[in-house]
Amino acid sequence: MGVIKGVLKEELENSLRMKSGYERELAKLPRGSLIRKIVKGHGYYYLLLRENGEVKFIYKGKVSGDEIKKYQDAKEYRAKYRKLLSQVKKQIRFLRSSLRGKESV
């Protein structure tokens, strides 16, 4: 195997491991987003999530600042990890197609 192909093969192994890593981190994040609704002048929180293709609002009532922060952080990390996971998937496609060639480079 040529030097370039060797490097690409190692990068493919890295990307495959990273894909599992990002999927694992995404699964660890709390599901759903907190939504604040105003009812008769009072704010109440609902957890908005999708289950079996359906959107569900789960009543949470009044929640602590820590809980709000937890869901805010989760939302940020979910967006970040999804973006990076999509990049990793593109890398995997690119690396697989590059390694398919028979030339020894």
Partner: protein, 230 residues
Amino acid sequence: MEKNQYDLCIKVLGRLEKSGVLKDVILIGSWCIPFYKDYFENVQYPTAIKSRDIDFLVPAPLKTNTKADIPKLLKDLGFIVDFKGPEGYIQLEHSDLIIEFLVPEKGRGSNKPYRLPQFGLNAQPLRFLDLLMLDTIKVKVEGIEINLPHPANFALHKLIIFQRRLREEKAIKDRNTAIEILKALINKGDAAVLLRVFNSMIPKWHKKVIKGLEEVKEKEILDLLTGGEK
């Protein structure tokens, strides 16, 4: 990806500098090569393929007052913690970069990860890394001061380890990089520095360097280091 990767690397270095970690570690591996740019100035030197791996060498034992939770420090950049191999060496992974911490392996050696509670992670012990710590240089990259092994140490180290590589393509890459850097050092007029570094090495390492040079038939470099005795 190249620009994103470079920008991310600078962000990582910036955070490590701000937290006080960077002064205690040495950047090693293929990322050294682009950072040797200023050292070599007008001399042509290799532009080796750099992988996503960015390695930091930590002196063991680590004598520092710095305390930094590195995984936490880099989490919002998108780095996740992963464990390599059955030994569980920690590496911080991002789609553009993989960060690893290494320590020189001492004595009989052990595969056990070296604990670095000061930095919130562990490091992988590897042979011959002491050579990279013997002579270091400081370079400024985007205003960030980083420690790098002297190019002579870097090249001689590569010349030793290419013989131990299990993957042939990695061995070829290391060997080619070593020879190109050694030639660049000679062209720069640093033959005396190279000879000094070589002479400061232990006899066991001498033998390995000579064996490596003999294998690649680099007579000019071999003569320079051995005074034509080989």
